[in-house]
């Protein structure tokens, strides 16, 4: 479970980095609130995954709409 959450977070962060470079290179909106550095409980990993998913969805739409 935790390993799968970390894998999902890794994939989303890599894709977000690429999208940020394509849409707005220096976008500095905080995607997730500060929780660390720490060994996070599973619930916190789930929240980070969900926050990254929302950011990914938002940036993906901007990218598809040609926004820069």
């Amino acid at each position: 479970m935790r390993r799968e959450l970390r894998r999902q977070i890794a994939r989303l962060e890599r894709e977000l980095t690429w999208l940020k470079a394509a849409v707005g290179p220096w976008e500095l909106d905080r995607v997730t609130r500060a929780r660390g550095p720490a060994l996070l409980p599973t619930a916190a990993l789930e929240q980070i995954r969900d926050e990254l998913l929302k950011a990914h969805w938002r940036l993906q739409r901007r990218f598809e709409n040609g926004e820069r």
């Binding site: 970390r6 890794a10 470079a21 550095p37 720490a38 980070i48």
Partner: protein, 206 residues
Amino acid sequence: MAAASSQSPAIVGGWVSDEVREEFPGLALRYTLVPSGVRRTPSIVKRQLEDISDRIDARRAVALRSRGSTAAYRVFQRQIGLDPDLDRTPFETAIIDRMIEGAFLPRGLPADACTIATIETGVPIWAIDAVSLSGPLGIRTTTAGSLVIADRKSVLAPLLGAPEAALAPSRTTSAIALFAVAVAGSPEPIADEALWLAAALASEGA
């Protein structure tokens, strides 16, 4: 560029507590001691700063974020509850400074040595005064659950964060410890290469 040679200093592998190792099998601490202190930037190091300033413009800087090692640290930051855009590693800080100031400006040694090694390899490097260290360095959690770099007695820095201000090298420093954290996707050999480069540069003109 200064290169690792047969004179390269020994790189030491730090300890990692069991609970941390179990969660992050690829996590490692690497460090080395350099008989050097805070000095003005020698001309040879200034030339290297100018060289990377010429090579890394805004477009290249953005691309570097998705490079293998750099991306690996961003991923690891997320996995431990940090935001890589705001909880900046020395790599991100150096790139932002480069964009704002128009160049990698000299800040003296060992800071410039760490900057050059970090930009060249993507591996963040930190320097601390080695005199007050007690025993080998490692990675563990605090009682509050925070991930930290520590020696036998004290917490030295949050993991992937700036060391305690009292540990900053000064004009009276006679030896510094350079350390790097290896993570999944940016393994120990890359961290060692970064440390060799930083150590060689920190020793320039000493």
